[in-house]
C-alpha cells in the first residue's frame, strides 16, 4: 500500500520544502506508521501537545515522517474525551521508544502497548504526577521537590558478567550522561544509556517567549549546532508568518551553516586522533579550529555565530574584504587538512584502532533509523541539503559523503570528505552571493498557524515544529535533534567491542546530550 492509498485528508503546510499535514484517529495512527515503514519511509520526530482550551480541545500526539517521494508528512492524533493514551509505534519504529517515554514524562500521555514505559526525562527530581507541558502548569511552580530516584536498568546475569557504571559526570570536559556496561572481561555484552541529565525544560520555556524572540532559545538547544537550530526555528516562523527572506540572507545562512559544520568536523577529527592516543592530531586540528573560530569572531562578532540568524534574515552583512578572507581561509585550511588526512591514513596505529571498531551495518542503520553523518558512514545516503533542499541548497550541488563499512574509520572518512565539500561550498557561496538586503521586515502582521523547519546540521537533520498563536505568542515549539535517533544505535555499536574502545566509538558519533535532553 502506498501513502496515497491511505485516504488521508492532507493539506500542505507552508515551508520551503514539501510538507503536508493531516489528522488521524487512533487506528489510522498505527496503520499509517506500518505503511510508511513498509515503504522505506522513516520517523523524523514524535512529540505531544496540550491543545485543550477549557472544555474544548484535546491532547494531541504528533509525528513527522519522511516518506518515499521526498515529502514530509506531519500527522496529528487528537485524543478524544481527555483520553491519555495512544497506540505505540515503537513496535514499528524502535527509535520511537525514547520519544514516547519523553511524551509520557512531559504530558502524561502513554503509548499503549509499549514494551518500555520507564520514565526517561523525569529522574524523580520533580513529582511523577507533574506534567510540565500541560496548560494548568506554568512550569515554574515552586514545590518541595523530591529526591532523584533510582533507575531500573536492565541487568545482565551470568558467569563472570559484571557491570561498569560511568557518569553522569565524565572524566573529561563533556556533557553529562550515564552509561551502564555489562561486560565479560573487557568485552561489552550490553550497554544501556540513561540520559536526561541536562533537561532544562526548553519546551515549556518557549511558551514564555514571544515568537519573534524564540530563535535565541532555539539557538541554545545544542550550542554546537546553534546555526542549524536558529535557522530551522526561523524557517518555521517565517513559514507561519509568510515572511519573505531576502536571497542574500539565505545564502549567508548557508555560509554560516557550512562554517559550523567545518568547525565541528575539525574538532572531532582532532579528538578522534586523541582518543586513539595520537595527540599530534588533537594539537593540529584544534589549532585549525581555533583559527576558524577566530575568523567567525572577526566576521560575525561571535565565535559560534550565536544569534546571527534572526527572523527575516541575518544580523550581519559581510563586505568584499570579508568575503576574500573567507576564501583565503578555505584555501589555507584545505591544504593543511589534506596534509593531515594523508598522515591519518598512513598511520598504522591509528588505523588499527579505527578499522572495524564500533560497526553499524547498513541493515542495522536502516532498522534503527540512524541518521545524519553516522548514517552516511553506514551506507545510508541521506542529507537534508540534498533530499529536502530549501534555498539556497536548491542551487548548490552538494556532493554527498558516504561510506559503507559503518565503523569508526568510516565516520572519520565521512568527516574528512564533508569538511572538504563544505570548503568547496563556502567558496561557491562567497562567489555567488547575491546582492541586496540581509533582512526583511514582516509585512503580513503576526498571524497564528503552524510551520516547520528542517535543516541538515553537522550531526544530522534538525527539525523544528512550531505552533504560533496570535499576538506573537508561542503555543508549542518542538525542537528535534538527530541524537534522538542515534543515541540508541550507539548502544548497538558498542556490543562486542572492548570497553577501552568505547570513548573512540562514542566520539565518532559525537551525539548531543543537551540537544537530546532539551
Amino acid at each position: 500500500m502506498k501513502i496515497a492509498d491511505l485516504n488521508l485528508n492532507l493539506a500542505p503546510l507552508p515551508a520551503p520544502f514539501p510538507l503536508v499535514r493531516g489528522e488521524v484517529c487512533a487506528s489510522e495512527w498505527s496503520a499509517v506508521a506500518l505503511t510508511i515503514a513498509e515503504n522505506h519511509g522513516r520517523l523524523v520526530t514524535l512529540w505531544g501537545s496540550d491543545d485543550r482550551h477549557g472544555e474544548a480541545g484535546h491532547f494531541v500526539v504528533s509525528a513527522v515522517y519522511a516518506v518515499e517521494n521526498g515529502t514530509l508528512l506531519w500527522l496529528d492524533l487528537p485524543l478524544p474525551d481527555q483520553q491519555l493514551n495512544y497506540p505505540d509505534i515503537a513496535g514499528i519504529f524502535p527509535y520511537a521508544s525514547h520519544m514516547q517515554r519523553a511524551v509520557a514524562d512531559l504530558l502524561g500521555l502513554v503509548a499503549e502497548g509499549a514494551s518500555d514505559t520507564r520514565p526517561w526525562l523525569n529522574h524523580g527530581a520533580w513529582p511523577m504526577d507533574y506534567f510540565p507541558l500541560r496548560r494548568e502548569f506554568t512550569g515554574t511552580e515552586v514545590r518541595d521537590w523530591p529526591a532523584v530516584t533510582d533507575y531500573p536498568f536492565v541487568s545482565v546475569a551470568g558467569d563472570g558478567v559484571h557491570e561498569i557504571a560511568v557518569g553522569p559526570v565524565h572524566a573529561g570536559i563533556i556533557e553529562p550522561g550515564h552509561f551502564r556496561f555489562a561486560v565479560v572481561g573487557e568485552k561489552t555484552l550490553r550497554l544501556e544509556e540513561r540520559l536526561g541529565y541536562t533537561h532544562k525544560g526548553i519546551d515549556k520555556r518557549f511558551e514564555h517567549l514571544p515568537a519573534s524572540e524564540g530563535y535565541r532559545l532555539a539557538g541554545r538547544v545544542s550550542g554546537d549546532s546553534t546555526v542549524a537550530y536558529a535557522w530551522a526555528y526561523c524557517m518555521a516562523l517565517e513559514a507561519v508568518w509568510n515572511w519573505q527572506v531576502p536571497a542574500r540572507a539565505l545564502w549567508l545562512r548557508a555560509l554560516m551553516l557550512e562554517r559550523e559544520r567545518v568547525a565541528n568536523h575539525l574538532g572531532d577529527l582532532g579528538a578522534l586522533g586523541n582518543d586513539a592516543a595520537f595527540g599530534f592530531g588533537l594539537s593540529q586540528f584544534m589549532r585549525l579550529k581555533e583559527d576558524w573560530l577566530r575568523l567567525n569572531k572577526t566576521l560575525f562578532g561571535h565565535r559560534f555565530m550565536m544569534d546571527r540568524i534572526v527572523p527575516g534574515g541575518v544580523a550581519f552583512d559581510p563586505d568584499t574584504a570579508a568575503c576574500a578572507k573567507i576564501t583565503a581561509q578555505c584555501d589555507a585550511i584545505e591544504a593543511e587538512v589534506r596534509e593531515l588526512h594523508a598522515i591519518y591514513d598512513d598511520h598504522a596505529g591509528l588505523q588499527d584502532r579505527f578499522l572495524t571498531t564500533g560497526r553499524v551495518t547498513t541493515e542495522l542503520a536502516n532498522q534503527l533509523g540512524l541518521t545524519g553523518l553516522a548514517a552516511r558512514a553506514s551506507g545510508v545516503p541521506r542529507d537534508v541539503r540534498i533530499d529536502f533542499p530549501a534555498p539556497p541548497y536548491d542551487e548548490l550541488a552538494v556532493n554527498i559523503a558516504c561510506r559503507n563499512s559503518g565503523d569508526v574509520a568510516a565516520r572519520v572518512a565521512v568527516r574528512f570528505d564533508e569538511l572538504l565539500e563544505s570548503l568547496q561550498l563556502l567558496r561557491q557561496i562567497v562567489r555567488r552571493l547575491p546582492d541586496g538586503a540581509v533582512i526583511a521586515a514582516p509585512d503580513n502582521g503576526m498571524p497564528e498557524g503552524r510551520g516547520a523547519g528542517w535543516v541538515e546540521g553537522w550531526r544530522g537533520g534538525i527539525f523544528v515544529a512550531l505552533t504560533v498563536e496570535k499576538e506573537n505568542r508561542i503555543r508549542r515549539c518542538h525542537c528535534h535533534d538527530p541524537s534522538w535517533q542515534n543515541w540508541p544505535v550507539l548502544e548497538y555499536a558498542a556490543i562486542g567491542n572492548i570497553v577501552p574502545d568505547f570513548p573512540l566509538i562514542n566520539k565518532s558519533f559525537n551525539l548531543s546530550y543537551s540537544g537530546h535532553d532539551r
Binding site: 526525562l121 529522574h123 527530581a125 520533580w126 507533574y130 510540565p132 502548569f137 512550569g139 515554574t140 511552580e141 521537590w145 529526591a147 532523584v148 553522569p168 559526570v169 572524566a171 573529561g172 570536559i173 563533556i174 556533557e175 553529562p176 536526561g196 541529565y197 541536562t198 533537561h199 532544562k200 525544560g201 526548553i202 515549556k204 520555556r205 514564555h208 535565541r216 532559545l217 541554545r220 538547544v221 545544542s222 550550542g223 554546537d224 546553534t226 574538532g267 599530534f280 594539537s283 593540529q284 584544534m286 589549532r287 579550529k289 581555533e290 573560530l293 569572531k297 565565535r303 559560534f304 550565536m306 596534509e339 593531515l340 594523508a342 598522515i343 548531543s512 546530550y513 543537551s514 535532553d517
Partner: protein, 185 residues
C-alpha cells in the same frame, strides 16, 4: 613519521602570551613564569580543575576545550583539568543547574578536598541565563554552592575564562594573605 615531524616543524610554537595580568587586576608583567609562580605561591602546586556541566547547552564546553589548544597552552601555565574531584583544587561549573544534575554536582563538590574554589562559567551558571528557573532547572550555581567567582558570557571566550580562573586564584591569595596576617596579629 617523516610527514608528522615535518608538520610539527612547520607549525612551530603557536602558543600565545597569556592575558596581561593588568586585566585581572594587578601587576605589570605578563610573563608565564609570573603566573606560574603565583599559582605555586597560592596553592603550593599546579592548579587542578574539575569541570562539571550541570546542564549547559555545550557552548561553554566548546570554549573550555578550546582553552586546552596550543594557542592558550593552559598546562604550560600549570593549570590542568583533572578527571577526579579528589585531585581538584577548583570546581568549574557550566550551565543552569538542572534538577537532574543537582545531586551529581553536590557530590562532586563534596568530593573536592578543602580548601576549594568554585567558579561559575557562563551566563547560565550565573543566573540560569536564557533557561531561567523552572521545574527543570534551579538557575545559577549559587543556588546550591558557595560561588567564589563568576565569568559572564554566552559562552565566555577562552581568554575570558583564563582571566577568570586567574582572578579566582588571586582572590584566594588575597583572602589567604588576609587570614595569615590576622593570624600573626
Amino acid at each position: 613519521m617523516w610527514k608528522i615531524l615535518k608538520r610539527i616543524a612547520k607549525t612551530g610554537i603557536a602558543t600565545e602570551t597569556p592575558p596581561d595580568l593588568q586585566k585581572v587586576g594587578a601587576g605589570e608583567t605578563a610573563a608565564t613564569q609570573r603566573i606560574h609562580d603565583e599559582i605555586l605561591q597560592i596553592l603550593g602546586r599546579a592548579l587542578t580543575i574539575r569541570e562539571v556541566d550541570a546542564g549547559s547547552c555545550n557552548g561553554c564546553e566548546l570554549e573550555l576545550n578550546a582553552l586546552n589548544n596550543v594557542y592558550y597552552n593552559l598546562e604550560g601555565l600549570g593549570i590542568k583539568f583533572v578527571a577526579s574531584p579528589r585531585h581538584a583544587d577548583l570546581l568549574l561549573v557550566t550551565g543552569p543547574v538542572s534538577r537532574n544534575m543537582a545531586l551529581a554536582l553536590q557530590r562532586t563538590y563534596d568530593a573536592i578536598p578543602e580548601p576549594k574554589l568554585v567558579v561559575a562559567v557562563g551566563d547560565c551558571a550565573i543566573n540560569g541565563g536564557i533557561f531561567g528557573e523552572s521545574y527543570a532547572t534551579l538557575g545559577g550555581v549559587a543556588k546550591m554552592l558557595p560561588v567564589d567567582h563568576v565569568i559572564p558570557g554566552c559562552p565566555p571566550e577562552p581568554i575570558a575564562i583564563l582571566q577568570g580562573i586567574l582572578t579566582a586564584v588571586r582572590y584566594r591569595l588575597g583572602t589567604r594573605a588576609a587570614a595569615d596576617s590576622a593570624g600573626h596579629a
